[in-house]
């Protein structure tokens, strides 16, 4: 099975894909929190006016 193939980092493709899923999810959550924080800051004090 190709997902059992171990790469130079020592991880299998399945492990690599699992890490990547979590990294993407973490990035999305971080991005949503950041967007919300910028929205609140913009409501408090609009910039570029």
């Amino acid at each position: 099975m190709s997902s059992d193939k171990v790469g130079p980092s020592g991880l299998t493709e399945a492990e690599s894909e699992e890490i990547h899923r979590n990294l993407i999810q973490g990035t999305q959550i971080f991005g949503m929190i950041a967007a919300f924080a910028h929205l609140l800051a913009y409501i408090y004090s609009p910039w570029l006016k």
Partner: protein, 65 residues
């Protein structure tokens, strides 16, 4: 996910801190640049909402008689 297999090559113990550091440095740089080059971030951080934008001097005499 076309990049999902990159972690078979890059060690996550190296790649993930590098990724997080890149985001942190980029974010810090943008906010530092804005703080140094604008008045409204300083105003925001000092709680000066609404007072940041200087009123145009020409607008004031119009109110007065």
């Amino acid at each position: 996910m076309i990049y999902a297999k990159m972690w078979t090559v890059v060690k996550p113990s190296v790649g993930i801190p590098v990724f997080i550091a890149a985001v942190a440095i980029a974010s810090f740089s943008v906010h530092l640049a804005l703080t140094l080059n604008t008045t409204w971030v300083k105003g925001f951080l000092n709680g000066g909402a609404g007072k940041v934008v200087a009123a145009a001097p020409a607008a004031e005499p119009a109110v007065k008689k």
